[in-house]
C-alpha cells in the first residue's frame, strides 16, 4: 500500500468547489508537485493534508492510518508555508528548535540539533539572527530547516521558492531536490511554476480549477499531455485548430497535415498541439512555408513568431553561433513524426 493516499478528497467553500474528487497515491520517498494556475486549489489541498482545513468529504491515509480527523499538532508533518511564517520574535535557532521543544527534547540537545539543521541549509553563521535581519532566501531556508529538523514523515512545501530571485531560485531547486533525496523524505510541493515542477518532481499533479487535469512523470507530462490545458500550461505550445478530412490527415485552413488520427472520428474538429522547439526551420524549400514576423534572441536559443497558411506559430531554434532569421525572411518548417499531438474538439 502506498505511503500517503488521498481518497476522493473534496473541499467546498459554501457553493464554491475548491478541490474536486482528488485521488492520489504517493510512495514513500517520492517527490510530488501540485502544479496549476493561481486559485486552482493547490494550497487548499496542502492545507487538508496538513490538517489546517477539514475536507468536505474524502479520506487521507498516512502509512496505513486514517488521519483525516487528526488535528494538525498530532500529524507531525513538516510544513514550509507560502509566507514562510517564521516566528519573528525568535532567533533562527529558536525558530528551528521550537518543534523539538514541543517534542520534549532537552535544551542542550535541541540547540545542537537546530544548529545542525541550519548548517545543513548553509545558514551556519546566522544562527542568532532574527528573521527581520535576514534576506528572503535565508528566511526560506530557516523555514525549511524548521520543517526538516523534526524528521517529519512528509514534507509539505507551499511555493517555497516563489519569493526568491531567478538565480537563487534555480540554485535552491537543485539544493532542495538533493537534500530531499539525501534524507529520503516524502515531499509534496505546491507550485505554479512549471519549470520548478518539471525539474524537481518524480511525478506532477496538474490541477485546473479544483480538478486533477493529469498525473504523470515530468517527461511524460511534457511529451504526452492528455488534454489541451496541460499541453498549454506545461511548457509552451502551439495550438492549431483543424478538421479530420481523411485517414491520418487533418485540414488546417486548407493546409493538409498528416498525423495519426486513429483515435478520432472522421470529420470531427480537433486541436493540434506542437511544441515550438520541435520545429526544424530551414531555407530548404520543403515543408510548411512561413514568413518570420518577429525574432527574439534568448541567449541559448532564438524565439520566432512566424506566419504561414496554418496561422501564427511560435518556433524556437537553438543558437548555433551564426545569425538567426530576421523579420521578413521566408523559411520552411518541418517536424519529426510524433511531434504533433491531437486533441478532440476545438480549443
Amino acid at each position: 500500500m502506498s505511503f500517503l493516499i488521498f481518497e476522493t478528497l473534496n473541499k467546498k467553500f459554501g457553493d464554491f468547489v475548491a478541490v474536486r474528487d482528488m485521488s492520489l497515491s504517493v510512495e514513500r520517498g517520492e517527490f510530488i508537485s501540485l502544479l496549476g494556475p493561481s486559485g486552482c486549489g493547490k494550497t487548499t489541498t496542502l492545507q487538508m493534508v496538513a490538517g489546517l482545513l477539514p475536507p468536505t468529504s474524502g479520506r487521507i491515509v498516512l502509512d496505513g492510518k486514517d488521519i483525516t480527523k487528526t488535528p494538525p499538532n498530532q500529524r507531525g508533518l513538516g510544513i514550509v508555508f507560502q509566507s514562510y511564517a517564521l516566528f519573528p520574535h525568535m532567533t533562527a535557532t529558536d525558530n528551528v528548535a521550537f518543534g523539538l521543544e514541543m517534542r520534549g527534547v532537552g535544551k542542550a540537545e535541541r540547540t545542537d540539533r537546530a544548529r545542525g539543521a541550519l548548517d545543513q541549509v548553509k545558514l551556519g553563521q546566522f544562527v542568532d539572527r532574527y528573521p527581520k535581519d535576514m534576506s528572503g532566501g535565508q528566511r526560506q531556508r530557516v523555514a525549511l530547516a524548521r520543517a526538516l529538523v523534526i524528521e517529519p514523515p512528509v514534507l509539505l512545501l507551499d511555493e517555497p521558492l516563489s519569493n526568491l530571485d531567478a538565480k537563487l531560485r534555480e540554485e535552491m531547486r537543485i539544493e532542495l531536490r538533493l537534500l530531499q533525496q539525501d534524507i529520503g523524505v516524502t515531499t509534496i510541493l505546491v507550485t505554479h511554476d512549471q519549470e520548478e515542477a518539471l525539474s524537481m518532481s518524480d511525478r506532477i499533479v496538474v490541477m485546473q480549477q479544483g480538478d486533477v487535469a493529469q498525473i504523470a512523470a515530468p517527461l511524460d507530462l511534457y511529451e504526452r499531455p492528455t488534454n489541451t490545458f496541460v499541453s498549454d500550461f506545461v511548457g509552451k505550445t502551439n495550438l492549431i485548430q483543424g478538421q479530420i478530412t481523411g485517414d491520418n490527415e487533418v485540414n488546417v485552413d486548407g493546409t493538409r497535415v498528416s498525423v495519426d488520427t486513429l483515435a478520432h472520428t472522421h470529420g470531427s474538429s480537433v486541436t493540434l498541439s506542437i511544441r515550438p522547439e520541435k520545429f526544424q526551420m530551414s531555407d530548404d524549400p520543403s515543408g510548411h512555408e512561413v514568413r518570420v514576423e518577429a525574432a527574439i534572441f534568448l541567449g541559448a536559443s532564438w524565439l520566432y513568431r512566424v506566419k504561414g497558411s496554418m496561422g501564427d506559430l511560435f518556433v524556437t531554434q537553438p543558437n548555433t553561433g551564426s545569425a538567426g532569421y530576421a523579420k521578413g525572411d521566408v523559411a520552411w518548417l518541418g517536424w519529426p513524426e510524433g511531434a504533433l499531438t491531437l486533441f478532440k474538439g476545438a480549443q
Binding site: 489546517l52 488535528p71 494538525p72 498530532q74 510544513i79 511564517a85 519573528p88 520574535h89 524548521r146
Partner: protein, 288 residues
C-alpha cells in the same frame, strides 16, 4: 504670477502654520504655567513678582501632596494592569470573530468613545451612589439595608477609569494582532504545539508591542485624568489633576497649582520615556 519659493524652503512653509498653531496653543500656556510656578503667593496681595523654587519645595516636602501623587500613580498603574487584563483578551477574541461579527463588536467596543467622558462618568455616579443601582441590587439580594456606595472611593475611580480607557488598550492590541501572519500560528500548530501553547508562545509575544504601547496610553491618560476623578473621587479622593484644579479655583493659589501641574507633567514624561526606552531595548531587535 505666483511668487516662486525655493524648493528647499517648501517644507518650512508647509509645516509653518502647524508649528505656529502648536506653539501658540500648547507651548505658550506651558511656558506661562512654568513661569507662574516660579512665583510665590501671598493670601493678601496675590502673586508676587519674585523668582523662587519655594512652591516646589512645598509640594515635594508636604506629605499631603506626596499622598496625592502616590495615589495618582498607584491608580494609573492599577488601571493599566486591569486594562491589560481585560483589553488583551477582548482584542484577541475580536480578532477571531468572523468579519461580520467583528465589525459589530468593534462598534460596541469603540462606541463609548463617541460619548463624552463626563456623561459616562455621571452614569457611573448614578450606579455607585448611596441610593443607586448598586445599593438597590445589594438590598434586593439581601445584603442588608446599609447603602453600598462606591462614590468617593479608590475602587469606584478605578472601575470608572478602566471603563473609560479600556477601548484604547483594545485598539492598540487589535492593531498589533492584525499584523500577525496567521500562518505563523498554523506553523506553531504543525510543529506540535497545542492551541494554548501557540497563544502563549507565538501570538502573545507578537502582540507585545501593542500591549506595551496601549499601556503607555492608558497610564498617561489615567495619571492626568481629570473629569472621572473629579466626579467619582471628588474632594475626598483627590488625584494630582483635581488637586491642581482646587489650588487654582478654590484656594486661588495659582502658583502652587501651576507647580503641581508641572510636577505631574515631569513625572509623566519621566515614567513614559524610561518605559519606552525599556521597550525599545527589548524589542528593537525583533520588530521593525
Amino acid at each position: 504670477m505666483m511668487a516662486s519659493i525655493q524648493p528647499r524652503k517648501v517644507p518650512y512653509f508647509l509645516t509653518g502654520p502647524g508649528v505656529i498653531f502648536f506653539a501658540a496653543l500648547l507651548g505658550a500656556p506651558m511656558v506661562m504655567t512654568l513661569l507662574l510656578s516660579l512665583h510665590s503667593y501671598d493670601f493678601n496681595t496675590g502673586i508676587q513678582p519674585d523668582w523662587t523654587l519655594a512652591n516646589y519645595v512645598e509640594v515635594l516636602g508636604d506629605s499631603y501632596f506626596q499622598k496625592i501623587f502616590g495615589r495618582t500613580f498607584g491608580l494609573a498603574l492599577l488601571v493599566t494592569v486591569i486594562c491589560v487584563l481585560i483589553g488583551v483578551p477582548e482584542a484577541y477574541v475580536l480578532s477571531r470573530l468572523s468579519s461580520r461579527w467583528r465589525s459589530v463588536f468593534l462598534l460596541v467596543v469603540l462606541g463609548p468613545l463617541l460619548i463624552s467622558v463626563v456623561v459616562r462618568t455621571l452614569g457611573w455616579a448614578l450606579f455607585f451612589g448611596g441610593n443607586g443601582v448598586l445599593t438597590m441590587t445589594a438590598q434586593a439580594l439581601g445584603f442588608g439595608d446599609e447603602p453600598v456606595s462606591l462614590m468617593f472611593t479608590f475602587t469606584g475611580m478605578t472601575i470608572a477609569l478602566v471603563h473609560v480607557l479600556v477601548p484604547f488598550m483594545v485598539i492598540s492590541v487589535w492593531a498589533s494582532l492584525q499584523k500577525i501572519d496567521p500562518q505563523s500560528e498554523d506553523a506553531g500548530l504543525s510543529l506540535g504545539a497545542s492551541k494554548m501553547t501557540v497563544l502563549r508562545r507565538i501570538t502573545l509575544p507578537q502582540a507585545m508591542p501593542g500591549i506595551l504601547s496601549g499601556s503607555i496610553i492608558v497610564f498617561a491618560l489615567t495619571a492626568s485624568a481629570f473629569a472621572t476623578p473629579a466626579i467619582i473621587g471628588g474632594r475626598r479622593m483627590k488625584v494630582v489633576a483635581t488637586a491642581a484644579y482646587d489650588e487654582y479655583l478654590s484656594t486661588l493659589n495659582w502658583p502652587l497649582g501651576a507647580t503641581i501641574a508641572i510636577l505631574l507633567l515631569l513625572a509623566n514624561i519621566g515614567i513614559i520615556v524610561s518605559y519606552n526606552k525599556l521597550i525599545e531595548r527589548r524589542f528593537a531587535k525583533v520588530f521593525e
